[in-house]
Symmetry: C2
Subunit: 232 residues, 2 copies
C-alpha cells in the first residue's frame, strides 16, 4: 500500500521562508495518493523567517527515500549550504528521488550539495548569480526544468512550480481544477521581477538584501560552500 | 513600546486552508513594527486541511485586542460558524479592531458573527452565494473593500489582499518592494475563476465541492448559523 504513495520530502530549517513551501504544499497535497513530510535534523519546532513555527514530520537521519525532494529558501539557507549532514542527505536522496526541486534560494542548497553542477537552474533574482560558483547556469525563468531538476524563482514562484509538477504527474485537467480551487487568478501590482520593477524600488530591495547578507555573513558562507563543493 | 506594535490576529481552526493565511502572513510580516499571532481556543496544535500543523500563539480567551483580525477559510469553517465562543470573540474584536478581514470562506465566519450584515464581501466562488443568508452582498472581486471590512476571494487571493493592506498602511513603495522581494510575477494557467475556467473543469470542481460539503454536513451548519444569526 505504501508503495503507491508518492512521498514528498520538504527540507525545512531555521529561518526558512515559509511561503516557499506552504504555497507548493497547498497545491501538491491535492494530488491523489500523495504524502508531504517536513524534514529536518531534529523533530524540534523550526521557526521560519518571520516567526511561524513548523514541526518536522521526519528526521533526515531516518533515511526515508522520498520521491520528490523540495528545498525552500530563505536568507539562512546559507547556513545549510555549509552543513555536511544536510548536504550528504541530499546527495543520498538524489540517488533515488524522481525529482530534485527547489524554490527561491533553495536552489543554492541543491547547488552546494553538488546537485546542480552543469544544470540550468532558477533562483530568487537577488541570489541567482551565486549559482555560477557551483557550476550551475542561472536561468531567468519562473520554473526552470533541466532533466529531473525543477527549480523555481523567488517565493511565490513556488505556486507555479507546484502546478507544473501536478500537470506533469497527474495531467492538465487536475492542474486546472486546482487552479480553480485555489482561485489562482492573481492581480499583482506590477514589478514582481527586476525587469519590470521601478528602478528606485529595485535599488532599495537590492540594497536591503545586500545589507542583510552582509550582517548575516551569508555571502561568506556561500563562498565557503563553493570552495568545499568538489571536496564533499 | 507595545503600543506602537501593529497586532494582527489570525484565527486558525482544525481543517483551515493553510495558504489562506500563510500567503498573507508572508506579506504582512514584512510591514515594520508588526506582530502576527495565530489565535485559537487552545494552544494545542491545529492541523490544517492537508496536514500541516500550526501552533497557536494565543488563545481567544486571553482577550488581546488585535488591530487587524484575519479569518482564513476551509471546508471546516462551517463548524466555526456555529461555535458561539468564536463568534462572540469576533464580535468583541470588532469593537476595537481597525480592520476585520477574511480570505476565502473565512468571510462566512465573519458573516456568521453578524459582522458582514449589509456589507459587500468577497468569498471563494464556490461558497459566495451563502453570504446572502447573513445579509451580506457577495461581490465578485478579488479583494472587496467596504468600510473596515476587507474580504478576499479564494485561497491565493490572500496574497493580493495582504499587498492591499500593506499599501494602505505603509504606502505603495513598500508594497512594491514586497512584490519584488517575493517575486510576485505569477504565470498562472488560465482558469483561476469560474468566468475563465473550462466548463468541464468548472463542473468537476463544483461537483467536488458539493460532494465534500454534503458528506461533511457543511451546508446544514451554514444554514444553522444563518438561523441563529440574529439571536446571538
Amino acid at each position: 500500500m505504501s508503495e503507491s504513495i508518492y512521498k514528498i520530502g520538504i527540507l525545512i530549517f531555521p529561518g526558512v521562508t515559509q511561503l516557499d513551501f506552504t504555497g507548493p504544499a497547498e497545491v501538491l497535497a491535492r494530488m491523489p495518493d500523495t504524502e508531504i513530510s517536513l524534514v529536518w535534523k531534529t523533530l524540534d519546532p523550526v521557526t521560519s523567517q518571520f516567526g511561524l513555527k513548523y514541526y518536522p514530520d521526519a528526521k533526515i537521519t531516518e533515511n526515508v527515500n522520498y520521491d520528490l525532494i523540495l528545498v525552500p529558501g530563505g536568507f539562512d539557507c546559507a547556513r545549510i549550504m555549509i552543513d555536511p549532514e544536510v548536504l550528504i542527505w541530499l546527495q543520498e536522496q538524489s540517488r533515488s528521488a524522481e525529482y530534485l526541486t527547489s524554490v527561491c534560494t533553495g536552489s543554492l542548497v541543491l547547488a552546494a550539495a553538488g546537485l546542480l553542477n552543469g544544470y540550468n537552474a532558477g533562483c530568487h533574482w537577488g541570489w541567482a548569480e551565486h549559482l555560477k560558483k557551483f557550476g550551475a547556469n542561472p536561468t531567468r525563468e519562473r520554473v526552470v526544468i533541466d532533466g529531473n531538476r525543477i527549480t523555481a524563482g523567488g517565493v511565490t514562484s513556488g505556486i507555479d512550480f507546484a502546478l507544473h509538477i501536478v500537470e506533469r504527474k497527474c495531467g492538465r485537467e487536475l492542474a486546472e481544477q486546482i487552479v480553480l480551487s485555489i482561485e489562482y487568478d492573481p492581480a499583482p501590482i506590477s514589478g514582481g521581477v527586476p525587469e519590470t520593477a521601478r528602478t528606485e524600488v529595485f535599488d532599495m530591495a537590492k540594497n536591503r538584501i545586500a545589507t542583510l547578507n552582509k550582517s548575516g555573513g551569508h555571502i561568506n558562507m556561500i563562498d565557503e560552500a563553493a570552495s568545499k563543493l568538489f571536496a564533499i
